[in-house]
C-alpha cells in the first residue's frame, strides 16, 4: 500500500463522509422534531437533478446549490403537509416521497443525461495549508460542501441544544402536547424542521452532481439516502456521534473501489453491507440498554399530533 493510495483513501473517506453527514443531519433535525422522513433518497435525487440542471442553464455552481436546497426543502414540505397538516402515516408518506422523488428527478433530468456539467463546485484552495503533506489533500483540498457540512453540524448542535428555539424543536419531538401547552406551534416547528431536513438532503444531492461525479444519471443517489437514515440511529440522534458514524460509513464507501488495489481479498459487495448491519446492531444495543435508561430516540417520533384529539 503506497502513501498516495492511503491519502486517496482518506480523502475519499472525508468526501463521502460529508455527503452522508449532510443528508443525515437533515434527517436528524426532522426526527428531533418528531417527523420520520423515509423520503431522503427521493429528496437527494431531487437536489441532485435540480443542481445539475440549474448549473447547465446558469453556469453558476452556487446558484445551482441554492436551487437544489430549495428543491429538497420543497419536496420535504410535501411530506410535511401530509404528515403534519393532514396527520397521514409518516412511513407511507415518506416512502411515497422516495418513489415520487426518484420518478420526478428522472423526468426532469431526461434531457441532461450524458451532458457535461455546466458548473462544478471545485476544491477550495486554502493556500499553504492545501500544500501540506497528508492533511493538505485530506482536509484542505475538499469541495466547499465538505466545509459546509462541518459548519452545518456545529450550527445544528448549537441551535438544537443551546437555544430556546432548539428546546422547542426537541420538545415537539419528545412530547408534542407539552410543547403545545408551552405555547409553541407544534405544526409550525415540525414543518420547519422537515423543510430544513429536505434542504440539507437537497444539498447532499447537489454534492453528488456538482462535486463528486459532475454528471446526471438516473439512480445517482444509489441507496445513500438509506445510509443517511441509518446514520441518525447509529449516531443516537447526536450531531457529534452522527459525524463519527458518517466518517466510518464514508470509509466503507471509499474502501469499496479500493480493496483490490490494497491487495485485500475481501468482496467489496459484502463490505458495502456493513453500514446497514452495524445500524441494526446499534439499534439492538440501544433497545437493550433503554430498559434501564431513557432511549435516545425522540419519544414522539412518528406520531401525528392533533391538538383537537389530545
Amino acid at each position: 500500500m503506497t502513501e498516495a493510495s492511503l491519502v486517496g483513501l482518506l480523502e475519499a473517506t472525508v468526501s463521502f463522509g460529508a455527503l452522508l453527514y449532510l443528508a443525515a443531519l437533515g434527517e436528524m433535525v426532522a426526527e428531533k422534531a418528531g417527523i420520520l422522513n423515509l423520503g431522503v433518497e427521493g429528496m437527494m435525487a431531487m437536489g441532485a437533478v435540480t443542481g445539475f440542471v440549474v448549473a447547465l442553464h446558469s453556469g453558476d455552481p452556487w446558484v445551482a446549490l441554492l436551487a437544489a436546497v430549495a428543491a429538497g426543502a420543497a419536496v420535504g414540505l410535501l411530506h410535511g403537509f401530509f404528515t403534519v397538516v393532514l396527520g397521514a402515516e409518516q412511513v407511507v408518506s415518506g416512502l411515497s416521497l422516495t418513489i415520487l422523488g426518484l420518478g420526478l428527478s428522472a423526468y426532469l433530468g431526461r434531457g441532461s443525461v450524458g451532458r457535461p456539467a455546466g458548473a462544478e463546485l471545485v476544491g477550495v484552495d486554502w493556500g499553504p495549508l492545501t500544500d501540506l503533506p497528508w492533511a493538505g489533500p485530506v482536509l484542505f483540498g475538499q469541495s466547499p460542501l465538505v466545509y459546509l457540512a462541518v459548519v452545518a453540524g456545529f450550527a445544528t448542535w448549537f441551535v438544537l441544544w443551546r437555544t430556546r428555539l432548539g428546546l422547542a424543536v426537541r420538545a415537539a419531538g419528545e412530547s408534542a402536547s407539552t410543547a403545545d401547552a408551552a405555547g409553541h406551534s407544534v405544526a409550525g416547528i415540525r414543518l420547519a424542521a422537515v423543510a430544513v431536513g429536505g434542504g440539507l438532503a437537497g444539498a447532499a444531492g447537489a454534492y453528488l452532481t456538482l462535486s463528486l461525479t459532475p454528471q446526471w444519471v438516473e439512480g445517482v443517489v444509489a441507496g445513500r439516502g438509506w445510509i443517511a437514515v441509518a446514520l441518525v440511529i447509529f449516531g443516537a440522534w447526536r450531531p457529534g456521534r452522527v459525524a463519527i458514524g458518517a466518517l466510518l460509513f464514508g470509509l466503507t464507501l471509499a474502501l469499496k473501489t479500493r480493496l483490490q488495489t490494497f491487495g485485500v481479498d475481501f468482496s467489496p459487495i459484502l463490505l458495502s453491507m456493513l453500514p446497514y448491519l452495524l445500524t441494526v446492531g446499534v439499534l439492538v444495543v440501544i433497545s437493550i440498554r433503554s430498559r434501564n435508561r431513557p432511549s435516545p430516540s425522540p419519544a414522539a417520533l412518528g406520531i401525528a399530533y392533533r391538538r383537537e384529539e389530545r
Binding site: 420520520l36 423515509l38 410535501l78 401530509f82 393532514l86 396527520g87 397521514a88 402515516e89 412511513v91 407511507v92 408518506s93 416512502l95 411515497s96 416521497l97 422516495t98 418513489i99 415520487l100 426518484l102 420518478g103 420526478l104 428522472a106 423526468y107 431526461r110 405555547g183 406551534s185 438516473e218 441507496g223 438509506w226 437514515v229 441509518a230 440511529i233 468482496s267 459487495i269 459484502l270 458495502s272 453491507m273 446497514y276 448491519l277 445500524t279 441494526v280 439499534l283 439492538v284 433497545s287 437493550i288 430498559r291 430516540s297 412518528g302 392533533r306 391538538r307 383537537e308 384529539e309
Partner: protein
C-alpha cells in the same frame, strides 16, 4: 384572526376508501397531464396507449396480471403485518431472499420433475423471506427493537447478497465473464395460463383469498386486529403479544418471499439484482391504499400493475417511463388527502394558536 383546523366528522363519509382511491387516481392523472403537455406530448393519446397496453385486450390483461402478482403479494405481506399495527418495510429485501431460496433449489434440482421442483422452489422462497424477517421479528418481540428500521436496513443487505452471489459463486461460466447467473432450467418455470399470464396469477389469488378469509372470518384474524388496536386489551383477553408479533412478522416475510419465488419462476429468466424492482416499496403503497385489508390488496395491485405496464408501453412513444412512477406516488398522495377529508372536515376557527378547540 382565523385559521383552518381539521375537525373529526361524526360519521365517516360513505364509500370513503374507493372514493378516496378514485380521487387519488384523478389527481395523479391531472398532474400527469401537466407533465405530458409540458414535454410536448398529446396526453389523451398517451393515456389511451397506456390503457390499450395494460387493459385493452386479453394479451394486455395477461401482462398486467403477471405484474399484479408481485405487487399484490408484497402488498399482502405489508397488510398482514399492518393489520397488527406492525410495519414491514422489508418486502423489497424479502422478495430477494425468497428468490435466492428458489434459485438455490433450481440449481440443485435441475433433474427433478417440474411439479416437485417448483413446489420445492416456492417452499424455499417462503423460507427465505421468512428467514430475513426472523431477526427483526425476534428483536421486536423480545426487546422491542423498532421493526421499521431493521426491516428497511435488511433490504439493502439482501440486494447486496444477490449481487455477491451473481458476481461470484453463481456466476454463469458461459456468460463471457458478465456477472450473470445461469438461466433457469425449463422445468423450473411456472406453467402458462393464457396468453402471457403464468400460473403464479392463480397461486397469488388463492393466497390473497386465504388471508382474506383468515383475517375476517377466523379467531386468529380477530386476535390480530385486537392486538393491533390495543395491546392492553389483547393481554387482558389472554392473547400472547410476543408470540403474535413474532409469527406475524415472519409470516409477512414469508409472503414477500413467496412473491420473490413466483417472480423468479414465472416472470424472470434468472436471478438478478433487479428482480425485486421496487415491488416491495410499491407493496407498502398498495397495502396503505387497501387500508391493510387483503380484499382490497388484490384490486389495488391490479390497478398498479396496469399503471406500471401502461407506463412501460409509452416509452415507444418517446415518453419517459418515469411518468408512471410519478403517477403511482401521486395516486397515494391524492388518496391520503381524500381519505383524511372523508374522516375530517375543514373548519375555520377564530382565535390565536394557543386556543383549544373541538
Amino acid at each position: 384572526m382565523s385559521r383552518p383546523v381539521l375537525v373529526r366528522r361524526e360519521q365517516v363519509l360513505r364509500g370513503g376508501q374507493p372514493l378516496a382511491f378514485g380521487i387519488g387516481l384523478c389527481v395523479a392523472l391531472l398532474v400527469g397531464l401537466v407533465l405530458l403537455v409540458g414535454s410536448g406530448h398529446d396526453p389523451l393519446r398517451v393515456y389511451g396507449r397506456m390503457f390499450e397496453a395494460s387493459l385493452g385486450d386479453p394479451r394486455a390483461w395477461s401482462v398486467t396480471l403477471n405484474r399484479a402478482v408481485p405487487l399484490g403479494l408484497a402488498g399482502l405481506a405489508v397488510a398482514v403485518a399492518g393489520s397488527m399495527g406492525l410495519w414491514n418495510i422489508g418486502a423489497e429485501g424479502q422478495i430477494m431472499a425468497g428468490a435466492i431460496g428458489a434459485a438455490w433449489i433450481a440449481r440443485i434440482g435441475g433433474e427433478w420433475p417440474s411439479p416437485v421442483l417448483i413446489t420445492a422452489m416456492l417452499a424455499a422462497a417462503i423460507l427465505g423471506g421468512g428467514l430475513l424477517a426472523l431477526g427483526p421479528a425476534v428483536a421486536r418481540a423480545r426487546i422491542g427493537v423498532n421493526e421499521i428500521i431493521t426491516t428497511l436496513m435488511l433490504n439493502e443487505v439482501a440486494i447486496r447478497l444477490v449481487q455477491w452471489l451473481v458476481h461470484g459463486r453463481w456466476k454463469d461460466p458461459g456468460s463471457n465473464n458478465f456477472p450473470l447467473a445461469p438461466m433457469l432450467p425449463d422445468n423450473a418455470r411456472l406453467p402458462g395460463l393464457f396468453e402471457r399470464a403464468h400460473f403464479g396469477v392463480v397461486l397469488a389469488g388463492v393466497v390473497i383469498a386465504l388471508f382474506g378469509v383468515a383475517a375476517s372470518r377466523t379467531a386468529w384474524g380477530y386476535e390480530l386486529r385486537v392486538a393491533g388496536s390495543s395491546g392492553a386489551t389483547a393481554r387482558y383477553a389472554g392473547i400472547s403479544l410476543e408470540r403474535k408479533v413474532m409469527t406475524v412478522l415472519i409470516l409477512s416475510g414469508g409472503v414477500a418471499g413467496f412473491a420473490g419465488g413466483i417472480e423468479l419462476s414465472g416472470a424472470a429468466d434468472r436471478i438478478t439484482e433487479g428482480l425485486s424492482n421496487g415491488f416491495g416499496f410499491a407493496g407498502i403503497i398498495v397495502a396503505a391504499l387497501a387500508l391493510m385489508r387483503p380484499s382490497g390488496v388484490a384490486a389495488v395491485a391490479l390497478l398498479f400493475g396496469a399503471v406500471q405496464i401502461g407506463g412501460q408501453s409509452i416509452q415507444t412513444m418517446g415518453v419517459s417511463s418515469s411518468v408512471s412512477t410519478i403517477l403511482q406516488a401521486l395516486i397515494l398522495f391524492g388518496a391520503i388527502a381524500a381519505g383524511v377529508l372523508s374522516r375530517y372536515r375543514v373548519e375555520m376557527v377564530a382565535g390565536e394558536a394557543t386556543e383549544v378547540t373541538g
